[in-house]
Amino acid sequence: MARRIIAAADGAHADHALLEVEDLRTHFLTPAGRVRAVDGVSFELARGRTLGIVGESGSGKTVLARSIMGLLPRSNVQRTGAIRYSGNDISDYSQAEMRSVWGPEMAMVFQDPMTSLNPVMRIGTQITESLRYHLDMSKAEANELAVSLLRSVGIPEPDKRLRDYPHQLSGGMRQRVVIAIALACGPKLLFADEPTTALDVTVQAQILNLLDTQQRERFMAMVLVTHDLGVIAGRAHDIAVMYAGRIVEKASARTLFSSMRMPYTEALLESIPKLEHRSHTRLASIPGRPPDLINPPAGCKFAPRCRYVQPRCLEEEPPLTPGVDEGHVYRCFYPVGTEAGREALARNLAEGRVPVADEVETGVVVGGPAPGADLDEGSW
């Protein structure tokens, strides 16, 4: 059964991008002013590809995903720009028109499996509902497919689990159910909005691998939203780094990790704790916080927190500049790993102008003058 749906979905043009987003802007009109949550984002995504969207809280990544899916609040929102899905502009679709897109075309896996399942409905019903509605299946057919879906997302004894309520499952199992529900109608585009943030670390890898496998097997396009570069390393084909509602760097995953240009990307990467760090190494963080989206600073939005910042950055907004590798773009005048960047950093260090960052590496011995302290750094 599942085969048939996937096969039917395969008709789309694999060469042509499945999703094209062009200059998408989502602004919330609040009493305090216009919040530019997403401010001019463009990208393309083809079937079978995974795009990772990375950024810290408030960078607009979730709003971006919801804007594309048409899941914004009805009032006080302004969305402009084009969203083309298999060639059709869906940006002006009504809710009723979107209803035919949701499910069989696009689906979403939410962040918290504790709240994204209805507590008073059996798991089986939650899965079969959309099957029966969209694919017009009989109850028996839908149940059969639900069992195979649950099996494919790695739930043991799926036929018994169908009769369970969400509270009878663990967080990881629930997220598997959420994924099964999202996959039920065989979407061609799957949004995963921080799908592992609410889960134990031990389960995170399993869920990510599951998403990865499903994405490949079903030849879906996937948008994986996360705040953790580590999560998408090795799982996304392309990575877009978002900051203050814009894409500040975009490249294939390989390029991004090997030759990132944007200081923000570098800072994000440095803030991932590493196993080879000695225990009790101080965690690196990015100083300051994301800019006010109502009155964003002139110039580069990241400038106030940037180690490479130069006077020019505060006045002029860097455009998206193409890098050496194909598809690599970034917004920086003094990119990491270039001569200009090195000079800028050296100048800032010499003049003591670097924003007060927490040290990335603390070789500092906290033990002080105590006897034996020299042997013992890091044990505190």
């Binding site: 709240t115 209805n118 509902e129 969400p166 042997l375």
Partner: protein, 306 residues
């Protein structure tokens, strides 16, 4: 690593280890309903059972079945008349049961009709938000601004000219209950509508009516049903207040409020006329509130417990 430097670790171990096994109770503690809950529930079952079956029970006497008693001679509780007999020659116990029949019927009818109307209004406002909600909230605010009892008096007075009957009392109290019930349902709906599973259903293409029926209502109705019990208690008290003002159901049907009101005149000499109905009413309302509270705390969905 020198021993002296491991002090912290050693301390931590000493502090934690002995406690660790004690913390492990080997399974979760079962939530208990408690004796209070069962006593209250039992009381409610007895009261409801008697009220429903009253016409068929042999020991429930007609009003005025014992005209031989007069104010001078009649006695308090006895084996034949556990709650005694009153000046009209009624068996007080039978009257209390019959009164409960009316009082509970009023309570239930008011809550059901109030919830049908108020609940629909509340769910509409809470789910659709925006302009619809603003209008609904404004109207509810106006209704809530009226002093309830005065409004009830006015309604009954205007409709019946002082001679209230059962439907009018129910109608008046129902009207009064709509606004508070709508408001509390709206709140519950707002909370549920914000949940991700509602958004998830939406992203699967579910229509609004389907979302309301399948996702919202099943999550809103249980806590509302628990709340309804406490509302029944309020309604019974409100009926009592109306009875004191002589605006409750007209004779011959007794209600608890009317029985208390009638017995009040003889409180000094024949306390049992008023005290037995009052005690019954008190215990019933206490039980309704207690059971309602316990159920409400059970049905309130806590994120952590999900």
């Amino acid at each position: 690593m020198p021993e002296t430097f491991d002090l912290q670790h050693a301390d931590a171990e000493n502090a934690v280890l002995p406690h660790a096994p004690a913390d492990d109770t080997g399974g979760h503690v079962r939530k208990r309903w408690g004796a209070g809950f069962w006593l209250s529930a039992l009381w409610l079952v007895v009261i409801c059972g008697l009220s429903i079956l009253a016409p068929y029970l042999p020991f429930i006497d007609e009003p005025g079945a014992f005209p031989d008693f007069s104010v001078e001679t009649l006695a308090g509780p006895s084996a034949d008349h556990p709650f005694g007999v009153n000046k009209n020659g009624d068996d007080v116990f039978s009257q209390v049961v019959n009164g409960g029949r009316t009082s509970l019927f009023i309570g239930l009818s008011v809550v059901i009709s109030g919830f049908i109307v108020g609940g629909a209004v509340g769910v509409t406002g809470g789910f659709f938000r925006g302009r619809v909600d603003r209008v609904i909230s404004a109207v509810l605010d106006v209704f809530l601004a009226f002093p309830a009892l005065v409004l009830a008096l006015a309604l009954i007075g205007i409709v019946t000219g002082g001679d209230a009957n059962l439907p009018v009392v129910i109608l008046a109290l129902s009207l009064l209950s709509v606004a508070p019930l709508a408001r509390i349902t709206r709140g519950a709906t707002l909370a549920v509508a914000e949940r991700e599973y509602v958004l998830a259903a939406h992203t699967l293409g579910a229509k609004r009516t389907r979302i309301i029926v399948k996702e919202i209502l099943p999550n809103v109705i249980p806590p509302m049903a628990a709340f309804a019990l406490t509302v029944i208690a309020v309604v019974i008290v409100a009926e009592g207040a109306l009875a004191f003002l002589g605006l409750s159901v007209s004779s011959p049907a007794p209600t608890w409020g009317k029985l208390i009101s009638e017995g009040r005149a003889e409180l000094e000499n024949h306390g049992h006329w008023a005290l037995f109905p009052a005690g019954t009413m008190f215990l019933t309302i206490l039980s309704l509130n207690y059971v309602g509270d316990v159920l409400q705390s059970r049905f309130t969905v806590r994120e952590g417990a999900l």
